[in-house]
Symmetry: C2
Subunit: 308 residues, 2 copies
Protein backbone atom coordinates (compact mmCIF):
# COMPACT_ATOMS: atom_id res chain seq x y z
CA UNK A 1 0.00 0.00 0.00
CA UNK A 2 1.12 3.51 -0.79
CA UNK A 3 -0.52 6.69 0.54
CA UNK A 4 -0.06 9.96 -1.22
CA UNK A 5 -1.13 13.45 -0.27
CA UNK A 6 -0.94 16.65 -2.27
CA UNK A 7 0.06 19.00 0.55
CA UNK A 8 -0.19 22.00 -1.74
CA UNK A 9 -0.98 22.78 -5.36
CA UNK A 10 0.07 26.41 -5.83
CA UNK A 11 2.89 27.68 -8.01
CA UNK A 12 5.16 30.72 -7.65
CA UNK A 13 3.89 32.19 -4.42
CA UNK A 14 1.90 30.86 -1.46
CA UNK A 15 -1.65 32.14 -1.26
CA UNK A 16 -4.33 32.15 1.39
CA UNK A 17 -6.16 28.83 0.86
CA UNK A 18 -3.56 27.44 -1.53
CA UNK A 19 -0.26 26.08 -0.24
CA UNK A 20 2.81 25.79 -2.41
CA UNK A 21 3.17 22.63 -4.48
CA UNK A 22 4.32 19.64 -2.46
CA UNK A 23 3.69 15.89 -2.47
CA UNK A 24 4.06 13.44 0.39
CA UNK A 25 4.21 9.64 0.07
CA UNK A 26 3.94 7.04 2.83
CA UNK A 27 4.80 3.37 2.53
CA UNK A 28 5.79 0.87 5.22
CA UNK A 29 6.52 3.65 7.71
CA UNK A 30 9.00 5.35 5.40
CA UNK A 31 7.89 8.69 4.01
CA UNK A 32 8.99 10.85 1.10
CA UNK A 33 8.45 14.58 0.81
CA UNK A 34 8.71 16.08 -2.68
CA UNK A 35 9.45 19.82 -2.57
CA UNK A 36 9.01 22.01 0.48
CA UNK A 37 8.00 25.60 -0.11
CA UNK A 38 7.05 28.23 2.45
CA UNK A 39 4.17 26.85 4.50
CA UNK A 40 4.51 23.16 3.61
CA UNK A 41 5.00 22.31 7.29
CA UNK A 42 1.67 24.01 8.08
CA UNK A 43 -0.06 22.16 5.23
CA UNK A 44 1.29 18.92 6.71
CA UNK A 45 -0.12 19.82 10.13
CA UNK A 46 -3.47 20.59 8.51
CA UNK A 47 -3.77 17.09 7.06
CA UNK A 48 -2.43 15.54 10.26
CA UNK A 49 0.61 13.82 8.79
CA UNK A 50 3.82 13.77 10.80
CA UNK A 51 7.19 15.03 9.60
CA UNK A 52 9.03 12.53 11.80
CA UNK A 53 9.04 9.65 9.30
CA UNK A 54 10.31 11.65 6.34
CA UNK A 55 13.28 9.50 5.35
CA UNK A 56 13.74 11.09 1.94
CA UNK A 57 13.25 14.60 0.61
CA UNK A 58 13.25 15.07 -3.16
CA UNK A 59 13.53 18.49 -4.72
CA UNK A 60 12.54 19.16 -8.31
CA UNK A 61 14.65 22.32 -8.42
CA UNK A 62 15.90 25.13 -6.27
CA UNK A 63 13.43 27.93 -6.93
CA UNK A 64 12.18 29.55 -3.76
CA UNK A 65 8.62 28.28 -4.06
CA UNK A 66 9.90 24.69 -3.98
CA UNK A 67 12.49 24.87 -1.19
CA UNK A 68 11.88 27.98 0.95
CA UNK A 69 10.17 25.92 3.66
CA UNK A 70 13.13 23.59 4.14
CA UNK A 71 14.69 25.10 7.30
CA UNK A 72 11.29 25.28 9.02
CA UNK A 73 10.54 21.69 8.05
CA UNK A 74 13.87 20.45 9.38
CA UNK A 75 13.34 22.32 12.67
CA UNK A 76 9.89 20.76 12.79
CA UNK A 77 11.37 17.28 12.33
CA UNK A 78 13.86 18.02 15.09
CA UNK A 79 10.97 19.06 17.36
CA UNK A 80 9.34 15.73 16.51
CA UNK A 81 12.47 14.02 17.89
CA UNK A 82 13.74 12.62 14.64
CA UNK A 83 17.29 11.29 14.94
CA UNK A 84 17.56 9.03 11.85
CA UNK A 85 19.36 10.44 8.82
CA UNK A 86 17.40 12.06 6.02
CA UNK A 87 18.34 11.49 2.40
CA UNK A 88 18.18 14.66 0.33
CA UNK A 89 17.81 14.26 -3.45
CA UNK A 90 17.87 17.08 -5.95
CA UNK A 91 19.78 18.80 -8.72
CA UNK A 92 23.46 19.62 -8.31
CA UNK A 93 23.78 22.50 -5.85
CA UNK A 94 21.25 21.12 -3.36
CA UNK A 95 23.92 20.73 -0.69
CA UNK A 96 25.02 24.36 -0.95
CA UNK A 97 21.48 25.74 -0.95
CA UNK A 98 20.53 23.55 2.02
CA UNK A 99 23.64 24.64 3.89
CA UNK A 100 22.82 28.30 3.24
CA UNK A 101 19.17 28.03 4.23
CA UNK A 102 20.05 26.08 7.36
CA UNK A 103 21.93 29.01 8.89
CA UNK A 104 18.67 29.44 10.85
CA UNK A 105 18.39 25.71 11.69
CA UNK A 106 21.67 24.97 13.46
CA UNK A 107 22.37 21.82 15.46
CA UNK A 108 19.85 19.47 13.87
CA UNK A 109 19.77 16.14 15.75
CA UNK A 110 19.88 14.11 12.53
CA UNK A 111 22.23 13.82 9.60
CA UNK A 112 21.42 15.01 6.08
CA UNK A 113 22.83 12.79 3.32
CA UNK A 114 22.90 14.25 -0.17
CA UNK A 115 22.34 12.73 -3.58
CA UNK A 116 22.94 15.44 -6.19
CA UNK A 117 21.60 14.64 -9.64
CA UNK A 118 23.37 15.57 -12.86
CA UNK A 119 22.56 12.73 -15.28
CA UNK A 120 19.61 12.53 -17.67
CA UNK A 121 18.23 9.69 -15.55
CA UNK A 122 19.33 8.18 -12.24
CA UNK A 123 17.75 5.45 -10.15
CA UNK A 124 17.99 4.74 -6.42
CA UNK A 125 16.57 1.90 -4.32
CA UNK A 126 15.78 3.38 -0.92
CA UNK A 127 13.65 1.62 1.67
CA UNK A 128 10.48 0.31 0.03
CA UNK A 129 10.90 2.64 -2.95
CA UNK A 130 12.66 2.67 -6.27
CA UNK A 131 13.13 6.32 -7.12
CA UNK A 132 13.70 7.14 -10.78
CA UNK A 133 14.93 10.67 -11.34
CA UNK A 134 14.69 12.17 -14.81
CA UNK A 135 15.75 15.53 -16.16
CA UNK A 136 13.00 17.87 -17.33
CA UNK A 137 13.15 21.28 -19.00
CA UNK A 138 12.79 24.45 -16.90
CA UNK A 139 14.70 27.73 -16.61
CA UNK A 140 17.08 26.08 -14.12
CA UNK A 141 18.16 22.42 -13.71
CA UNK A 142 15.03 20.52 -12.75
CA UNK A 143 14.09 16.87 -12.24
CA UNK A 144 10.92 14.82 -12.24
CA UNK A 145 10.55 11.65 -10.21
CA UNK A 146 8.85 8.28 -10.49
CA UNK A 147 8.33 6.48 -7.20
CA UNK A 148 7.76 2.77 -7.56
CA UNK A 149 6.97 0.23 -4.86
CA UNK A 150 7.98 -3.05 -6.52
CA UNK A 151 5.93 -6.19 -5.98
CA UNK A 152 7.36 -9.67 -5.85
CA UNK A 153 5.98 -12.56 -7.88
CA UNK A 154 3.33 -14.96 -6.56
CA UNK A 155 4.51 -17.71 -4.16
CA UNK A 156 3.69 -21.16 -5.53
CA UNK A 157 2.72 -23.24 -2.47
CA UNK A 158 1.95 -26.35 -4.55
CA UNK A 159 5.44 -26.29 -6.02
CA UNK A 160 7.00 -25.75 -2.59
CA UNK A 161 5.21 -28.85 -1.31
CA UNK A 162 6.25 -30.84 -4.40
CA UNK A 163 9.89 -29.86 -3.84
CA UNK A 164 9.57 -30.88 -0.19
CA UNK A 165 10.57 -27.44 1.13
CA UNK A 166 9.97 -27.31 4.89
CA UNK A 167 7.21 -24.91 5.88
CA UNK A 168 9.63 -22.95 8.09
CA UNK A 169 11.52 -21.79 4.97
CA UNK A 170 8.53 -20.51 3.01
CA UNK A 171 8.44 -16.95 4.33
CA UNK A 172 12.24 -16.64 4.15
CA UNK A 173 12.15 -17.68 0.50
CA UNK A 174 9.39 -15.14 -0.11
CA UNK A 175 11.72 -12.48 1.28
CA UNK A 176 14.41 -13.51 -1.22
CA UNK A 177 16.67 -15.62 0.99
CA UNK A 178 18.69 -18.53 -0.38
CA UNK A 179 18.59 -21.38 2.18
CA UNK A 180 20.89 -24.41 2.42
CA UNK A 181 19.55 -27.21 4.64
CA UNK A 182 22.50 -29.35 5.89
CA UNK A 183 20.26 -32.24 6.98
CA UNK A 184 18.39 -32.45 3.69
CA UNK A 185 21.63 -31.60 1.83
CA UNK A 186 19.64 -29.27 -0.36
CA UNK A 187 19.74 -25.57 -1.32
CA UNK A 188 16.44 -23.80 -1.84
CA UNK A 189 16.31 -20.64 -3.96
CA UNK A 190 13.47 -18.10 -4.20
CA UNK A 191 13.14 -18.57 -7.96
CA UNK A 192 12.15 -22.23 -7.32
CA UNK A 193 8.85 -21.11 -5.78
CA UNK A 194 8.33 -17.46 -6.73
CA UNK A 195 6.65 -16.39 -9.95
CA UNK A 196 7.89 -13.45 -11.99
CA UNK A 197 7.74 -9.98 -10.42
CA UNK A 198 4.26 -8.49 -10.56
CA UNK A 199 3.40 -4.91 -11.37
CA UNK A 200 4.08 -2.69 -8.39
CA UNK A 201 2.66 0.72 -7.55
CA UNK A 202 3.92 3.74 -9.43
CA UNK A 203 3.51 7.46 -8.90
CA UNK A 204 5.10 9.83 -11.42
CA UNK A 205 5.66 13.48 -10.61
CA UNK A 206 6.63 16.35 -12.87
CA UNK A 207 6.80 20.12 -12.22
CA UNK A 208 8.10 22.75 -13.33
CA UNK A 209 8.81 21.99 -16.96
CA UNK A 210 7.94 22.33 -20.59
CA UNK A 211 6.59 19.04 -21.98
CA UNK A 212 9.44 16.57 -22.55
CA UNK A 213 9.90 13.03 -23.85
CA UNK A 214 11.44 12.19 -20.47
CA UNK A 215 8.13 12.98 -18.74
CA UNK A 216 6.17 10.95 -21.30
CA UNK A 217 8.46 7.95 -20.71
CA UNK A 218 8.23 8.34 -16.93
CA UNK A 219 4.43 8.62 -16.93
CA UNK A 220 4.01 5.33 -18.82
CA UNK A 221 2.03 2.79 -16.81
CA UNK A 222 1.88 5.03 -13.70
CA UNK A 223 -1.00 4.47 -11.31
CA UNK A 224 -1.00 8.20 -10.74
CA UNK A 225 0.72 10.81 -12.90
CA UNK A 226 0.89 14.10 -11.02
CA UNK A 227 1.83 16.92 -13.32
CA UNK A 228 2.06 20.67 -13.42
CA UNK A 229 -0.97 22.39 -14.93
CA UNK A 230 0.18 25.97 -14.51
CA UNK A 231 -2.33 27.45 -16.95
CA UNK A 232 -5.57 26.28 -18.50
CA UNK A 233 -7.20 29.19 -20.29
CA UNK A 234 -7.19 29.27 -24.09
CA UNK A 235 -4.19 31.10 -25.47
CA UNK A 236 -1.91 30.50 -22.49
CA UNK A 237 0.60 28.34 -24.39
CA UNK A 238 2.76 31.36 -25.18
CA UNK A 239 3.00 32.33 -21.52
CA UNK A 240 3.78 28.70 -20.63
CA UNK A 241 6.57 28.61 -23.20
CA UNK A 242 7.97 31.95 -22.07
CA UNK A 243 8.19 30.98 -18.38
CA UNK A 244 9.21 27.35 -19.07
CA UNK A 245 6.02 25.95 -17.59
CA UNK A 246 3.20 23.98 -19.15
CA UNK A 247 -0.53 24.14 -19.64
CA UNK A 248 -3.03 21.55 -18.42
CA UNK A 249 -3.65 20.68 -22.05
CA UNK A 250 0.05 20.05 -22.70
CA UNK A 251 0.21 17.80 -19.63
CA UNK A 252 -2.86 15.88 -20.84
CA UNK A 253 -1.25 15.41 -24.25
CA UNK A 254 1.77 13.81 -22.55
CA UNK A 255 -0.47 11.46 -20.56
CA UNK A 256 -2.24 10.49 -23.79
CA UNK A 257 1.12 9.84 -25.49
CA UNK A 258 2.57 7.70 -22.68
CA UNK A 259 2.42 3.99 -23.56
CA UNK A 260 0.75 2.36 -21.65
CA UNK A 261 -1.24 5.40 -20.50
CA UNK A 262 -1.10 6.31 -16.83
CA UNK A 263 -4.29 5.33 -15.00
CA UNK A 264 -4.97 8.94 -14.10
CA UNK A 265 -3.52 12.41 -14.42
CA UNK A 266 -3.76 14.80 -11.47
CA UNK A 267 -2.88 18.46 -11.90
CA UNK A 268 -0.91 20.59 -9.48
CA UNK A 269 1.24 23.79 -9.43
CA UNK A 270 -1.47 26.20 -10.52
CA UNK A 271 -0.62 29.79 -11.35
CA UNK A 272 -1.89 32.28 -8.73
CA UNK A 273 -3.83 33.81 -11.63
CA UNK A 274 -5.80 30.58 -12.14
CA UNK A 275 -8.42 30.59 -9.40
CA UNK A 276 -10.62 27.74 -10.67
CA UNK A 277 -8.60 25.09 -12.56
CA UNK A 278 -11.82 23.07 -12.91
CA UNK A 279 -13.03 25.64 -15.44
CA UNK A 280 -10.76 23.91 -17.97
CA UNK A 281 -11.12 20.24 -17.01
CA UNK A 282 -13.70 19.38 -19.68
CA UNK A 283 -11.44 20.76 -22.38
CA UNK A 284 -8.54 18.78 -20.90
CA UNK A 285 -10.57 15.55 -20.74
CA UNK A 286 -11.11 15.73 -24.49
CA UNK A 287 -7.35 15.13 -24.69
CA UNK A 288 -6.95 12.67 -21.79
CA UNK A 289 -10.22 11.52 -20.21
CA UNK A 290 -8.81 10.41 -16.83
CA UNK A 291 -7.70 13.94 -15.89
CA UNK A 292 -8.45 15.42 -12.49
CA UNK A 293 -7.73 18.70 -10.74
CA UNK A 294 -5.64 18.14 -7.65
CA UNK A 295 -6.32 20.31 -4.64
CA UNK A 296 -4.63 20.94 -1.32
CA UNK A 297 -5.00 17.98 1.02
CA UNK A 298 -6.06 15.49 -1.66
CA UNK A 299 -5.20 11.98 -0.45
CA UNK A 300 -5.16 8.65 -2.24
CA UNK A 301 -4.27 5.17 -1.14
CA UNK A 302 -2.89 2.94 -3.87
CA UNK A 303 -3.14 -0.80 -3.42
CA UNK A 304 -2.48 -3.83 -5.59
CA UNK A 305 -5.53 -4.90 -7.52
CA UNK A 306 -6.97 -8.25 -6.37
CA UNK A 307 -6.72 -10.09 -9.66
CA UNK A 308 -3.05 -9.45 -10.22
CA UNK B 1 -2.18 58.51 11.87
CA UNK B 2 -0.51 55.18 12.34
CA UNK B 3 -2.03 51.81 11.37
CA UNK B 4 -0.81 48.63 12.94
CA UNK B 5 -1.63 45.03 12.21
CA UNK B 6 -0.62 41.90 14.06
CA UNK B 7 -0.01 39.65 11.06
CA UNK B 8 0.63 36.68 13.30
CA UNK B 9 0.75 35.85 17.00
CA UNK B 10 2.30 32.37 17.19
CA UNK B 11 5.66 31.48 18.66
CA UNK B 12 8.14 28.73 17.78
CA UNK B 13 6.37 27.07 14.89
CA UNK B 14 3.64 28.12 12.45
CA UNK B 15 0.30 26.43 13.02
CA UNK B 16 -2.89 26.08 11.03
CA UNK B 17 -4.94 29.17 11.98
CA UNK B 18 -2.06 30.89 13.78
CA UNK B 19 0.70 32.60 11.81
CA UNK B 20 4.12 33.27 13.24
CA UNK B 21 4.55 36.49 15.23
CA UNK B 22 4.85 39.56 13.04
CA UNK B 23 3.81 43.20 13.23
CA UNK B 24 3.24 45.65 10.42
CA UNK B 25 3.00 49.43 10.73
CA UNK B 26 1.82 51.96 8.14
CA UNK B 27 2.30 55.71 8.29
CA UNK B 28 2.37 58.28 5.48
CA UNK B 29 2.85 55.55 2.86
CA UNK B 30 5.96 54.20 4.53
CA UNK B 31 5.59 50.77 6.09
CA UNK B 32 7.56 48.80 8.65
CA UNK B 33 7.54 45.03 9.00
CA UNK B 34 8.75 43.62 12.32
CA UNK B 35 9.89 39.99 12.02
CA UNK B 36 9.04 37.74 9.10
CA UNK B 37 8.59 34.05 9.84
CA UNK B 38 7.44 31.30 7.53
CA UNK B 39 4.02 32.30 6.21
CA UNK B 40 4.12 36.02 7.04
CA UNK B 41 3.68 36.87 3.36
CA UNK B 42 0.48 34.78 3.29
CA UNK B 43 -0.79 36.45 6.47
CA UNK B 44 -0.18 39.81 4.78
CA UNK B 45 -2.19 38.71 1.74
CA UNK B 46 -5.00 37.57 4.06
CA UNK B 47 -5.37 41.02 5.60
CA UNK B 48 -4.99 42.67 2.21
CA UNK B 49 -1.91 44.75 2.99
CA UNK B 50 0.73 45.16 0.30
CA UNK B 51 4.41 44.34 0.71
CA UNK B 52 5.41 47.00 -1.82
CA UNK B 53 5.63 49.88 0.66
CA UNK B 54 7.77 48.10 3.22
CA UNK B 55 10.62 50.59 3.57
CA UNK B 56 11.99 49.11 6.78
CA UNK B 57 12.24 45.58 8.13
CA UNK B 58 13.12 45.17 11.80
CA UNK B 59 14.15 41.83 13.22
CA UNK B 60 14.06 41.10 16.93
CA UNK B 61 16.49 38.21 16.53
CA UNK B 62 17.56 35.54 14.10
CA UNK B 63 15.66 32.48 15.27
CA UNK B 64 13.92 30.68 12.43
CA UNK B 65 10.40 31.53 13.53
CA UNK B 66 11.21 35.25 13.22
CA UNK B 67 13.10 35.33 9.92
CA UNK B 68 12.40 32.13 7.93
CA UNK B 69 9.90 33.93 5.69
CA UNK B 70 12.38 36.60 4.61
CA UNK B 71 13.38 35.25 1.16
CA UNK B 72 9.73 34.64 0.23
CA UNK B 73 8.77 38.13 1.39
CA UNK B 74 11.56 39.75 -0.63
CA UNK B 75 10.54 37.77 -3.73
CA UNK B 76 7.00 38.91 -3.07
CA UNK B 77 8.12 42.55 -2.90
CA UNK B 78 10.01 42.07 -6.17
CA UNK B 79 6.83 40.67 -7.76
CA UNK B 80 5.05 43.78 -6.52
CA UNK B 81 7.57 45.84 -8.54
CA UNK B 82 9.35 47.43 -5.64
CA UNK B 83 12.55 49.17 -6.68
CA UNK B 84 13.24 51.48 -3.72
CA UNK B 85 15.84 50.35 -1.17
CA UNK B 86 14.75 48.53 1.98
CA UNK B 87 16.39 49.25 5.32
CA UNK B 88 17.08 46.10 7.32
CA UNK B 89 17.50 46.52 11.07
CA UNK B 90 18.44 43.75 13.49
CA UNK B 91 21.12 42.31 15.73
CA UNK B 92 24.68 41.93 14.49
CA UNK B 93 24.78 39.08 12.00
CA UNK B 94 21.62 40.11 10.15
CA UNK B 95 23.56 40.79 6.96
CA UNK B 96 25.11 37.33 6.91
CA UNK B 97 21.85 35.53 7.68
CA UNK B 98 20.02 37.55 5.03
CA UNK B 99 22.74 36.82 2.49
CA UNK B 100 22.53 33.09 3.26
CA UNK B 101 18.74 32.91 3.11
CA UNK B 102 18.67 34.92 -0.09
CA UNK B 103 20.49 32.22 -2.03
CA UNK B 104 16.98 31.39 -3.24
CA UNK B 105 16.06 35.02 -3.94
CA UNK B 106 18.75 36.12 -6.39
CA UNK B 107 18.61 39.32 -8.45
CA UNK B 108 16.24 41.37 -6.31
CA UNK B 109 15.35 44.63 -8.10
CA UNK B 110 15.94 46.70 -4.95
CA UNK B 111 18.83 47.32 -2.62
CA UNK B 112 18.97 46.08 0.98
CA UNK B 113 20.69 48.49 3.39
CA UNK B 114 21.70 47.10 6.76
CA UNK B 115 21.74 48.58 10.23
CA UNK B 116 23.21 45.98 12.60
CA UNK B 117 22.59 46.66 16.27
CA UNK B 118 25.12 46.00 19.02
CA UNK B 119 24.53 48.75 21.58
CA UNK B 120 22.18 48.64 24.57
CA UNK B 121 20.04 51.26 22.85
CA UNK B 122 20.19 52.85 19.41
CA UNK B 123 17.88 55.35 17.77
CA UNK B 124 17.19 56.03 14.09
CA UNK B 125 15.02 58.66 12.40
CA UNK B 126 13.68 57.05 9.24
CA UNK B 127 10.85 58.53 7.19
CA UNK B 128 7.98 59.46 9.51
CA UNK B 129 9.32 57.25 12.29
CA UNK B 130 11.76 57.45 15.15
CA UNK B 131 12.84 53.89 15.82
CA UNK B 132 14.31 53.21 19.25
CA UNK B 133 16.03 49.84 19.47
CA UNK B 134 16.75 48.37 22.88
CA UNK B 135 18.48 45.18 23.90
CA UNK B 136 16.34 42.54 25.64
CA UNK B 137 17.28 39.21 27.19
CA UNK B 138 16.82 36.01 25.17
CA UNK B 139 19.01 32.95 24.44
CA UNK B 140 20.57 34.84 21.50
CA UNK B 141 21.08 38.60 20.91
CA UNK B 142 17.62 40.11 20.70
CA UNK B 143 16.16 43.61 20.44
CA UNK B 144 12.85 45.25 21.18
CA UNK B 145 11.66 48.35 19.32
CA UNK B 146 9.69 51.49 20.02
CA UNK B 147 8.23 53.16 16.95
CA UNK B 148 7.32 56.80 17.48
CA UNK B 149 5.67 59.18 15.08
CA UNK B 150 6.62 62.59 16.52
CA UNK B 151 4.14 65.43 16.50
CA UNK B 152 5.10 69.08 16.12
CA UNK B 153 3.82 71.79 18.44
CA UNK B 154 0.70 73.81 17.74
CA UNK B 155 0.99 76.65 15.17
CA UNK B 156 0.08 80.01 16.72
CA UNK B 157 -1.77 81.89 13.98
CA UNK B 158 -2.43 84.93 16.19
CA UNK B 159 1.26 85.30 16.86
CA UNK B 160 2.08 84.87 13.19
CA UNK B 161 -0.30 87.74 12.37
CA UNK B 162 1.16 89.88 15.18
CA UNK B 163 4.65 89.33 13.82
CA UNK B 164 3.46 90.25 10.35
CA UNK B 165 4.53 86.95 8.82
CA UNK B 166 3.15 86.70 5.29
CA UNK B 167 0.54 83.96 4.89
CA UNK B 168 2.65 82.28 2.19
CA UNK B 169 5.30 81.39 4.81
CA UNK B 170 2.99 79.79 7.36
CA UNK B 171 3.04 76.24 6.07
CA UNK B 172 6.80 76.39 5.40
CA UNK B 173 7.39 77.47 9.00
CA UNK B 174 5.14 74.63 10.17
CA UNK B 175 7.43 72.25 8.27
CA UNK B 176 10.44 73.63 10.13
CA UNK B 177 11.89 75.96 7.51
CA UNK B 178 13.80 79.13 8.44
CA UNK B 179 12.82 81.90 5.99
CA UNK B 180 14.58 85.17 5.28
CA UNK B 181 12.50 87.77 3.44
CA UNK B 182 14.82 90.23 1.63
CA UNK B 183 12.08 92.80 1.06
CA UNK B 184 10.93 92.82 4.67
CA UNK B 185 14.56 92.42 5.78
CA UNK B 186 13.41 89.88 8.34
CA UNK B 187 14.16 86.25 9.20
CA UNK B 188 11.29 84.08 10.41
CA UNK B 189 12.02 80.98 12.47
CA UNK B 190 9.63 78.12 13.31
CA UNK B 191 10.09 78.62 17.05
CA UNK B 192 8.53 82.11 16.67
CA UNK B 193 5.15 80.58 15.87
CA UNK B 194 5.30 76.92 16.87
CA UNK B 195 4.46 75.69 20.36
CA UNK B 196 6.49 72.98 22.05
CA UNK B 197 6.43 69.47 20.47
CA UNK B 198 3.27 67.59 21.36
CA UNK B 199 3.04 63.93 22.28
CA UNK B 200 3.30 61.78 19.18
CA UNK B 201 2.15 58.22 18.63
CA UNK B 202 4.14 55.39 20.13
CA UNK B 203 4.07 51.64 19.67
CA UNK B 204 6.44 49.51 21.74
CA UNK B 205 7.23 45.96 20.77
CA UNK B 206 9.03 43.23 22.72
CA UNK B 207 9.48 39.52 22.02
CA UNK B 208 11.31 37.06 22.77
CA UNK B 209 12.72 37.94 26.15
CA UNK B 210 12.71 37.58 29.87
CA UNK B 211 11.31 40.69 31.58
CA UNK B 212 13.91 43.49 31.53
CA UNK B 213 14.21 47.07 32.74
CA UNK B 214 14.86 48.05 29.13
CA UNK B 215 11.38 46.86 28.17
CA UNK B 216 9.81 48.67 31.13
CA UNK B 217 11.54 51.90 30.08
CA UNK B 218 10.53 51.44 26.45
CA UNK B 219 6.88 50.71 27.29
CA UNK B 220 6.50 53.96 29.26
CA UNK B 221 3.84 56.20 27.78
CA UNK B 222 3.28 53.93 24.76
CA UNK B 223 -0.10 54.11 23.07
CA UNK B 224 0.21 50.40 22.45
CA UNK B 225 2.66 48.05 24.15
CA UNK B 226 2.79 44.78 22.23
CA UNK B 227 4.55 42.11 24.23
CA UNK B 228 5.22 38.41 24.22
CA UNK B 229 2.83 36.38 26.34
CA UNK B 230 4.27 32.96 25.63
CA UNK B 231 2.56 31.22 28.54
CA UNK B 232 -0.37 32.02 30.79
CA UNK B 233 -1.20 28.95 32.83
CA UNK B 234 -0.35 28.91 36.54
CA UNK B 235 3.10 27.46 37.18
CA UNK B 236 4.55 28.29 33.79
CA UNK B 237 7.15 30.77 35.12
CA UNK B 238 9.79 28.02 35.37
CA UNK B 239 9.31 27.06 31.74
CA UNK B 240 9.43 30.74 30.76
CA UNK B 241 12.71 31.19 32.64
CA UNK B 242 14.22 28.02 31.16
CA UNK B 243 13.47 28.98 27.55
CA UNK B 244 14.19 32.71 28.04
CA UNK B 245 10.61 33.71 27.32
CA UNK B 246 7.99 35.35 29.52
CA UNK B 247 4.50 34.75 30.80
CA UNK B 248 1.51 37.01 30.20
CA UNK B 249 1.61 37.86 33.91
CA UNK B 250 5.26 38.93 33.73
CA UNK B 251 4.47 41.14 30.73
CA UNK B 252 1.55 42.69 32.60
CA UNK B 253 3.79 43.40 35.59
CA UNK B 254 6.16 45.32 33.29
CA UNK B 255 3.27 47.36 31.88
CA UNK B 256 2.17 48.17 35.42
CA UNK B 257 5.71 49.22 36.35
CA UNK B 258 6.25 51.48 33.32
CA UNK B 259 5.86 55.15 34.26
CA UNK B 260 3.63 56.54 32.78
CA UNK B 261 1.80 53.28 32.04
CA UNK B 262 1.23 52.35 28.43
CA UNK B 263 -2.37 52.92 27.38
CA UNK B 264 -2.80 49.24 26.60
CA UNK B 265 -0.92 45.97 26.53
CA UNK B 266 -1.53 43.54 23.68
CA UNK B 267 -0.15 40.01 23.85
CA UNK B 268 1.48 38.10 21.03
CA UNK B 269 3.92 35.18 20.48
CA UNK B 270 1.82 32.48 22.10
CA UNK B 271 3.25 29.02 22.67
CA UNK B 272 1.73 26.37 20.36
CA UNK B 273 0.68 24.66 23.60
CA UNK B 274 -1.50 27.64 24.55
CA UNK B 275 -4.65 27.28 22.47
CA UNK B 276 -6.82 29.88 24.23
CA UNK B 277 -4.77 32.76 25.69
CA UNK B 278 -8.05 34.39 26.75
CA UNK B 279 -8.35 31.73 29.46
CA UNK B 280 -5.80 33.74 31.44
CA UNK B 281 -6.80 37.33 30.64
CA UNK B 282 -8.81 37.91 33.83
CA UNK B 283 -5.84 36.85 35.94
CA UNK B 284 -3.59 39.14 33.89
CA UNK B 285 -5.99 42.10 34.23
CA UNK B 286 -5.65 41.91 38.00
CA UNK B 287 -2.04 42.95 37.35
CA UNK B 288 -2.58 45.39 34.48
CA UNK B 289 -6.22 46.13 33.66
CA UNK B 290 -5.74 47.37 30.09
CA UNK B 291 -4.45 43.99 28.88
CA UNK B 292 -5.77 42.38 25.71
CA UNK B 293 -5.08 39.18 23.79
CA UNK B 294 -3.80 39.94 20.32
CA UNK B 295 -4.87 37.68 17.52
CA UNK B 296 -3.90 37.21 13.90
CA UNK B 297 -5.13 40.04 11.73
CA UNK B 298 -5.86 42.45 14.62
CA UNK B 299 -5.71 46.01 13.29
CA UNK B 300 -5.67 49.35 15.08
CA UNK B 301 -5.45 52.90 13.85
CA UNK B 302 -3.78 55.32 16.23
CA UNK B 303 -4.56 58.99 15.91
CA UNK B 304 -3.81 62.11 17.94
CA UNK B 305 -6.48 62.81 20.50
CA UNK B 306 -8.52 65.97 19.81
CA UNK B 307 -7.74 67.80 23.03
CA UNK B 308 -3.97 67.55 22.72
Amino acid sequence: MLDLCLLGTGGMTPMPKRWLTSLMLRCEGSDILVDCGEGTQIAMKEVGWSPKSIDIMCFTHMHGDHISGLPGMLLNMANADRTDPVIMIGPKGLYNVTKSLCCIAPGLPFELRFIELDQATEEYKLGPYVISCYKVSHSVPCYGYSFTVPRKGRFDAEKAKELGIPLAYWSRLQKGEVITDMDLKKTFRPEMVMGPDRKGLKVTYATDSRPTDSIVRAAADADVFICEGMYGEPGSEGKAREYRHMTMQEAAAMAAKAEPNPKELIFTHYSPSMIWPKDYIEDVRSIFPASFCGKDGLMKTLDYTEEE
